[in-house]
């Protein structure tokens, strides 16, 4: 029954998800609470049980003052014991109060027994809470990560990495703390206050009335203060971020700072900001100190009131000495929850902000997978037909591609040449569906099929791309190369490495294939990274391969060696070579020259050189013979 219900729920969830992907604009989560409910799945019962045990702890804590007052009044003193009927019966059963008078240790045992029970409950409360909290935070992290993997590149373009990471780490932690600590704490506080007040009321309603008058005053005071001060805290955070950024930039740009001799400027900039930040804090500390002191004063006054009232009531015979002690203990239990409550409530608004920040990520529309996605063979002719493309947010600027048409027959090589910003990389991105081609802006087909109808993941599995700025993961070299096909054999690995001309380099590393490449591959040189990225693609043996300026950091000799190996080892694959260096593309079956998003020239190396256009000019520049005089102009 339960399983069935769960299945239904899962199906419902996926059908909603599916509906979302179809209609881009519909948000996945209507509001913060619905997102929280989603995250709380699987951990809610842990939290509920932990609150239950927390309440039990509070209840048990209430017993001690009662035991003490009983002991003081009736066991030590000589007042007639006042107890609930069942307890009275039990007391009479063991021989009345005189039995206890000769055995004081029994009172001690009673206190210890209650304490032991409380300790067990306390442990269960914390342990269950942690279980729920960690399940919750894992679910949040995993869900966010999975969702981020589905978001389109345009989304990444609009949002800064630092900001997204901040949301996935700090905001996640904040929400976790809020749900597992703040919220349970608040419930605990309320339970504790209610219990303590009612126990106090059972001793003396009038004293309780006067001493509880402080509760709303202190809570409100704390709440108002924290709401007002939160702006100042945020400001300090911002200032700290700026200070940290100054250090970061100074360190990463150390060569520039030194080469321009700007140390003094940097120092002044840093110290000015440092002073500003420090002064902000000192001012804030002053306000906080005043707040704490007023809190101390209010608490002290309340203690005085309770002490004096208690004494007066005792003297007038309204309460006993034991009750007086119990009352003071209950009152002491109230002090901290009441003082902390204002802050806890004000922290809730912070959690609200964090939930909103996660909602922003979770409600971003994922990449579209076409309905009834096709999975046709990809070793077919690739056709760009009247393709125009403009990056979102670049309105007013020129199109990245304008009316571009070309055809790459299966198994042939296309070379693309063009200056920075001419649209070369856009061709690769569109073919990979990293950026979607809008309807009415031409079409890209493979064989008979428009790529808009082809399954995106299938397409990407079949079209290998080596990017301009390769990205390696902080793993070992072999794990990096195998990242897209973990099951590939060692032979495949070595073949890919050999074609990418990386063999010698790896032999030079003491750890060989197990060399750890560091975050983003920092331990490798630019050329080594490019070659590793090439191997990463080659191991997949895709029918289509795109090299986006991916040989720029290797020297010309290696460049040639790699292309030679590619030609013999991957015969039959469709290849797109994007480059600045003409020698890279000169052997291609056809070459197009992009200029400002348009195809300016097309043909083979020979025909283009003969044509005498941009291509020919570039070719002459790059191969300028010493005698030609053209190269001389380069450097005087």
């Amino acid at each position: 029954m339960y399983r069935h219900a769960r299945g239904l729920r899962a199906r419902l969830f996926f059908s909603i998800l599916y509906a979302m992907t179809e209609k881009n604009q519909t948000p996945r989560f209507r509001s913060g609470p619905s997102l929280i409910r989603f995250f709380l799945r699987g951990s809610l019962h842990d939290f509920l049980f932990s609150i239950l045990f927390a309440s039990l702890v509070s209840l048990l804590d209430m017993l001690n003052p009662r035991i003490i007052s009983f002991a003081v009044d009736s066991v030590i003193g000589n007042l007639k014991p006042v107890l609930p009927a069942p307890l009275m019966d039990a007391l009479n059963g063991i021989g009345g109060i005189s039995y206890l008078k000769s055995r004081f240790y029994l009172i001690g045992l009673l206190v210890a027994g209650v304490a032991l029970l409380a300790a067990v409950c306390r442990y269960l409360f914390h342990a269950l809470n942690a279980r729920g909290a960690e399940k919750l935070v894992k679910r949040m992290r995993d869900t966010l990560y999975a969702h981020l993997q589905k978001l389109p590149q345009s989304w990444y373009g609009e949002n800064s990495t630092g900001d997204i990471i901040q949301r996935c780490t700090s905001d996640v932690d904040l929400i976790k703390t809020f749900l597992s600590e703040r919220l349970t704490e608040l419930i605990r506080m309320i339970v504790l206050i209610v219990m303590a007040v009612s126990f106090m009321a059972s001793i003396s309603p009038r004293m309780t009335f006067f001493s509880s008058l402080f509760i709303p005053v202190v809570v409100l005071f704390g709440l108002i203060f924290h709401v007002k001060i939160s702006g100042a805290f945020m400001k300090v955070d911002v200032e700290e971020g700026k200070l940290s950024a100054i250090v970061q930039e100074n360190l990463t740009g150390v060569r520039v700072v030194r080469a321009f001799g700007r140390e003094q400027f940097e120092r002044t900039r840093f110290e000015d900001h440092n002073t500003l930040y420090t002064n902000h804090w000192v001012r804030l500390i002053n306000i906080l100190s005043v707040y704490w002191s007023i809190g101390d004063l209010l608490t002290g006054l309340q203690l005085l009131l309770v002490t004096v009232l208690g004494a007066v009531f005792c003297v007038r015979g309204r309460i006993t000495a034991g009750e007086y002690i119990a009352f003071v203990s209950y009152n002491a239990m109230l002090t901290w929850p009441v003082r902390a409550m204002g802050r806890t409530i004000s922290d809730m608004s912070k959690a609200g902000i964090s939930v909103g920040r996660l909602l922003y990520i979770m409600n971003a529309s994922p990449e579209e997978e076409p309905v009834d996605a096709l999975t046709p063979p990809l070793d077919r002719t690739i056709t760009f037909s009247h393709v125009s493309f403009r990056y979102p947010g670049s309105a007013g600027e020129a199109e990245a591609l304008h009316d571009v048409s070309f055809e790459i027959p299966a198994g042939t090589t296309l070379g693309i040449i063009g200056s920075t910003g001419s649209g070369k990389t856009t061709v690769a991105r569109l073919l990979e569906k990293l950026w979607p081609l809008e309807p009415g802006c031409g079409s890209i087909t493979i064989g008979e099929n428009d790529i808009r109808d082809i399954s995106t993941s299938y397409l990407r599995q079949g079209i290998g791309l080596v990017m301009q700025e390769p990205y390696l993961f902080s793993r070992t070299l072999s794990e990096n190369i195998r990242v897209s096909s973990p099951s590939s054999t060692d032979r495949d690995l070595r073949r890919a490495v050999r074609i990418a001309s990386l063999e010698e380099t790896i032999d030079h590393f003491p750890q060989g294939y197990d060399t750890f490449v560091g975050e983003r591959g920092v331990t490798l040189s630019g050329g080594q990274k490019q070659r590793a990225a090439i191997a990463q693609m080659l191991i997949r043996k895709t029918p289509v391969m795109i090299f986006d300026d991916s040989l720029s950091a290797v020297d010309a000799g290696t460049d040639a060696r790699i292309r030679e190996a590619l030609k013999t080892e991957t015969a039959g694959a469709t290849v797109i070579l994007i480059a600045h260096r003409i020698s890279t593309v000169m052997d291609a079956d056809q070459i197009i020259v992009l200029d400002g998003g348009r195809i300016a020239e097309r043909g083979t190396h020979a025909s283009l050189v003969a044509e005498g256009g941009i291509y020919a000019k570039t070719w002459r520049l790059q191969t300028a013979a010493p005698a030609s005089g053209e190269g001389k102009g380069g450097i005087a």
Partner: protein, 599 residues
């Protein structure tokens, strides 16, 4: 317990090492500690009011002396509130001031350290020293110190009060207190180790997010989403396990500790009850004992936590003091500083104008962290106005020569002469102020285009800026930006493409109108036609300047006055383009390879 190296057991937690930084606040610190001590003394006194109320008013059924009682209570309360305000404020101030001073000192020192330090330590590592170590130290010398004084004083005064009231009862409580101390200490060690693992795992998870976000395009292209998700979930699962374990452990501690305090109460009730019944002590005294039994555990826990925090802080203090003690490999002699000023107080009036004659005389060089000599007995004369080109494969060591010319490193043996005098005879800043530098990976600072371009010449006018931009054909880029010169370039110039960044950093170098120009593989990611435009600019700009150019493409440097060919860190050939071609060896082969595009 790994990593808990005992090398960090310094006397007084290493805090004496900070005395120079704390000196200005000596008076405040002593004052603050005194106040904290007084405040906790008062806190320990409060239960005595209760005692008086019980033993006097309640027992004798009289309200005589109540006004005096209230008056005394109020006086002490107000006094304590004032003390608390002052000590909290002082505490916060000392924290922030110490932070500020340490950060300033660290930042300032970093500006003078040589590049070998930056090569050996990652930016993240250094950043953590400047920002987080200082913060932790500031917190330790203020709040932690204050807190341990407060809690320690509370325990001591409570114990003293108990001892004066009744020794036997006090002894029983103290015994349990000692047991609790041992328990907390045992748990604490384990908890510190567990918490360290949580922190480590936390940075693994942040790294995972970072990779998933910055590498998202690559993951898509490689269709590696599943693998990445699996690996990420394995890490979050690991985190979950460690965290749950840690919380369970600390929950156990919390439960046991509160149980201990209840046990103390039980002992007080059982023992004290008997004593009270036999009129050896009064009820008021019993209530004082009960208050302490319940109130002493928390300060005890706090003191222990403070001490572990102070132990942990030693590592931070050590790392920071090590940074501050770091010696620069390249430093100006006292005589040079006397005459030319140091990094922060240049005496520009004494600076001779730099001509631009560079000479390597019998230079032998080895990187400070390297094992073999990269240059041996190297001689090279670069008269004013000469263009020197350095070519060679990636990683062959082309930057070494430039690092020496810029005095980013000092020759191990031999001399670098600038205008005929040893470079060490003049200050580094003197040289750097006449240097133009364009980097392999261009670095821009966050701020506007104008701020960035003016970096080397703060008083440059807009006209001068536009002139420089035109020279490197970058005026179009800036004009296309919505805000023109006021456009923000983003952190590290993230709003611009690599090519655009290079062009701008070029303009920045030109604007400084340097006598010495250094171009470090500056043309690697600019397309051929733009590069051509830059080359034309270079030909204009290098006139009247000494320049060093490191380039990939041989076609860009065929016109250089001297070409140096570098392999495995050594200069293996030198000459003009024609001479080297004539020789028909290494350079010839490289050139032919590039020309034909075939191996």
């Amino acid at each position: 317990m790994n990593g808990q190296k005992k090398s960090t057991s310094l006397p007084f937690f290493g805090i004496p090492k900070l005395f120079p930084c704390l000196r200005p606040y000596r008076g405040t610190i002593i004052f603050m500690i005194t106040l904290g001590f007084l405040s906790s003394l008062i806190d320990a006194i409060y239960p005595l009011f209760n005692r008086y109320a019980l033993d006097h008013f309640v027992k004798e059924k009289t309200l005589l002396g109540l006004p005096a009682f209230i008056g005394l209570f109020l006086t002490i309360l107000v006094f304590q509130v004032l003390i608390n305000y002052r000590s909290a404020y002082d505490c916060g101030r000392i924290e922030m001031m110490t932070d500020r001073d340490l950060r300033n000192a660290a930042f300032r020192h970093l500006q003078t350290l040589s590049f070998s330090y930056y090569n050996q330590n990652s930016v993240g590592y250094i950043h953590a020293r400047v920002i987080s170590d200082t913060g932790k130290i500031g917190e330790a010398v203020s709040w932690r110190m204050m807190d341990s004084v407060w809690n320690g004083a509370y325990i001591v005064s409570a114990v003293l009060v108990m001892l004066t009231l009744n020794i036997r009862l006090a002894a029983a409580v103290l015994l349990l207190l000692a047991a609790a101390t041992v328990l907390i200490l045992l748990f604490q060690r384990k908890l510190i180790a567990l918490n360290r693992r949580i922190r480590e795992q936390n940075s693994v998870i942040t790294g995972g997010f970072n990779e998933g976000i910055t590498g998202s395009a690559t993951i898509r292209i490689l269709a590696a989403e599943k693998l990445m998700q699996q690996d990420f979930e394995a890490e979050t699962e690991k985190m979950r396990r460690i965290s749950v374990r840690t919380v369970r452990f600390s929950a156990l501690l919390a439960s046991i500790v509160t149980l201990m305090s209840a046990l103390m109460l039980a002992v007080v009730l059982a023992q004290g009850g008997r004593l009270t019944e036999s009129r050896i002590i009064e009820i008021g005294t019993l209530s004082v004992f009960m208050s302490y039994a319940l109130g002493m555990i928390e300060p005890l826990q706090n003191v222990i936590a403070d001490i572990s925090a102070l132990i942990a802080i030693q590592a931070n203090i050590e790392r920071l003091t090590r940074l501050l003690a770091e010696q620069s490999d390249v430093s100006d002699s006292p005589e040079v500083i006397e005459r030319y000023g140091d990094t922060f107080h240049p005496k520009r009036e004494n600076w001779e104008p730099l001509q631009g004659d560079i000479e390597f005389r019998d230079v032998t060089f080895r990187y400070p962290d390297g094992e073999e000599n990269i240059m041996e007995h190297f001689d090279l004369k670069v008269p004013y106005g000469t263009n020197v080109a350095i070519v060679g494969e990636t990683g062959a060591g082309k930057s070494t020569l430039v690092n020496l010319v810029c005095r980013f490193y000092e020759p191990t043996e031999g001399q670098l002469l600038i205008d005929g005098r040893d470079a060490r005879e003049r200050s580094q800043l003197w040289l750097h102020s006449s240097l133009g530098y364009v980097l392999q990976s261009p670095h821009l600072f966050s701020g506007s285009v104008r701020d960035n371009l003016r970096y080397g010449k703060p008083d440059a006018t807009d006209d001068e800026i536009w002139d420089a931009l035109r020279l490197v054909a970058a005026d179009g880029i800036v004009r296309a930006m919505e805000g023109g010169l006021d456009s923000e370039v983003g952190e590290g110039g993230s709003m611009l493409s690599v090519g655009e960044k290079q062009l701008l950093s070029f303009a920045r170098a030109l604007l400084a109108d340097p006598k010495l120009l250094i171009l470090d593989e500056a043309t690697a990611s600019i397309d051929t036609l733009t590069e051509k435009a830059i080359q034309n600019a270079i030909s204009v700009v290098t006139k009247g300047r000494t320049s060093f150019i490191i380039a990939h493409r041989l076609s860009t440097i065929t016109g250089a006055d001297i070409i140096l060919v570098v392999a495995d860190g050594r200069i293996i050939e030198r000459g003009t383009h024609e001479e080297l071609l004539h020789r028909g060896t290494v350079y010839y082969n490289m050139y032919m390879t590039q020309l034909s595009g075939n191996a």
